[in-house]
């Protein structure tokens, strides 16, 4: 049911094919046709999601740091609506293409301003602290939001193990960039590997979660397996996925989206309805999975975690430090 293309005109009226091949109109029709078909495929990719791999269960305990009074987004939506550009720029690409990611063996290298560099194996990390269920709001800078029951423990527990020096003021997170496991498409326009960073006090905040799973099972590949961070009061791109290296540094580290478009994506990126993205408003957000006429809701300052995190930014101009 594509919109009428030029090629839908009855064949009796069309110039013989060999003449067509020499004509610019063929190019235009082909381009339009390709665009139409590509558009259809993209739409179908979103509406008919492929299967999710079965995953290991994680034993989680309830946490007082979970957000209450919110309805978790469906597992289906959490695992089929993703921004994970290493696997392609469309929302359906990570679910389709992340099968090639190998989450074992996996380790996180710790470097920089620490007592001594270490490497932590993923299975060691899984057993470091009791796994907690943390239900958090998740807010993308694109103005859509979810509620996700993550599984993990506070990043601060892991940082204690790293023994950072007092000169370490920031923590940098480096994600996997391996062309053997990930398509790493140039068309996404991103310089790999994906890098993110937090100020030390943000990283040490109890809400910041070293995350290993969701809905009581290990992270599906498309959600940043096998280990990622979740920083619920910031826009989602701050929550780095598939982490392979953590570096403690003195100066504010470079972060991927800030490098791509500094006027649009800042270092702090706190969820803030009063500071708009240059090209769209941040005052409202669309809830993923909600019925179409009830999707819109107002954005909450700090994504609703202001009580717990606002003090980190006392005296800071959040419009300048977006």
């Amino acid at each position: 049911m594509l919109i009428l293309k030029k090629s839908d005109i009855p064949s009796s009226e069309i110039t013989p094919k060999r003449d067509y091949m020499n004509r610019r109109s063929f190019m235009a029709a082909a381009a339009a046709g390709v665009a139409a078909v590509a558009g259809e495929c993209a739409l179908r990719g979103v509406l008919q999601p492929p299967h999710v791999k079965a995953a290991e269960k994680l034993n989680t305990i309830k946490s007082p740091l979970s957000t209450t009074g919110v309805t978790p987004t469906s597992f289906e939506d959490i695992t089929h609506y993703n921004n994970f550009y290493e696997f392609g720029p469309d929302k359906g690409d990570p679910a389709k293409n992340s099968g090639s990611l190998h989450t074992r063996p996996w380790s996180i290298k710790v470097e920089g301003l620490v007592a001594k560099p270490q490497t932590f194996d993923i299975d060691t990390l899984l057993k470091l602290r009791p796994m907690e269920e943390r239900i958090y709001r998740f807010r993308c800078v694109e103005a859509w939001s979810m509620v996700i029951p993550w599984a993990g423990y506070s990043l601060s527990e892991f940082i204690k193990q790293c023994q950072p020096l007092s000169t370490a003021k920031y923590v940098q997170f480096i994600s996997l960039a391996d062309s053997k496991q990930e398509p790493l498409p140039w068309s996404a326009g991103i310089q790999w590997p994906y890098q993110e960073g937090l100020r030390m006090d943000e990283a040490m905040h109890p809400l910041t979660l070293l995350t290993f799973g969701l809905y009581g099972q290990e992270l599906p590949n498309q959600d940043g397996a096998p280990v990622r961070i979740i920083v619920p009061w910031k826009y989602g791109f701050k929550s780095a996925k598939s982490i392979v290296k953590i570096k403690f540094v003195k100066d504010q580290p470079s972060t991927t989206w800030n490098e791509m478009a500094a006027n649009e994506y800042g270092f702090y990126s706190n969820v803030n309805p009063n500071v708009d993205h240059p090209r769209w408003s941040q005052k409202r957000e669309r809830v993923i999975g909600a019925p179409i006429f009830r999707q819109l809701q107002p954005t909450l300052m700090f994504n609703g975690y202001g009580d717990q995190v606002a003090s980190l930014y006392n005296g800071m101009d959040l419009r300048k430090n977006y």
Partner: protein, 215 residues
């Protein structure tokens, strides 16, 4: 092409232009009744892109009529479909605008004013719609008579600017690094480049299609 053929083709054209709307309405109905995921995880986004892309594609089809007629003189009768496609493009543009007003702005006047005054991609989009409005209003034969053919033609050159504004609106609306607007941009550039080239060819004595009414 005979009149009967034209009528049959027009029925097909109407059906083809309306079929996507029917698809949309059907899935809208499903998503509000039996299957909440019928329009995908972000139904607002799905509907917005569906109507927006439809608008741009129909605009391109409309803009392809004259180049086609010049390229293949036998297809001169295509001009009788141009208004049909143009009006459908405007129809989809209205659906797209309504999606914004209803689902993005929640009918909030302050939100709309805020967006129109500050968000450049919204300015581009609203400009495109505003440019199409007089074209839709003057699409009747009565208008052509009242304005005179020459003035009417000149007014309808606004189609080019509306299409350009629409393509820019698409580029400005997507995230950095996203390249999906490329395909429709290529189509637009080809169609725009083809016009002067084909017009010059049509003017030469050799292939002179002097029986094609000047449009």
């Amino acid at each position: 092409m005979k009149q009967r053929g034209i009528v049959a083709l027009k029925v097909v054209a109407h059906a083809a232009c309306l079929a996507p709307v029917a698809w949309l309405l059907w899935h809208l109905y499903l998503s509000t009744t039996s299957d909440p995921s019928a329009l995908g995880p972000d139904p607002t986004h799905t509907v917005t892109f569906f109507t927006g892309r439809g608008t741009l594609r129909l605009l391109m089809v409309t803009l392809a009529v004259t180049p086609m007629r010049r390229l293949i003189p036998k297809l001169a009768w295509l001009v009788r479909f141009r208004r049909l496609f143009g009006l459908y493009a405007f129809f989809y543009a209205c659906l797209h605008l309504m999606t914004y007003v209803w689902l993005y702005a929640g009918f909030s006047w302050s939100a709309i004013v805020d967006d129109i005054s500050q968000r450049r991609f919204i300015i581009a989009g609203f400009t495109a719609w505003l440019l199409l409005l007089p074209l839709a209003l003057t699409s009747t034969a009565w208008s052509i008579r009242k304005l005179g053919g020459k003035n009417w033609n000149r007014l309808h050159w606004l189609t080019y600017i509306a299409a350009l504004a629409g393509v820019i609106h698409y580029w400005w609306g997507v995230k950095q690094g996203v390249l999906t607007p490329t395909a429709i941009t290529v189509v637009f550039v080809v169609l725009m480049a083809a016009r002067p080239i084909l017009a010059r060819r049509a003017a030469t004595p050799k292939g002179s299609p002097s029986r094609i009414p000047v449009s």
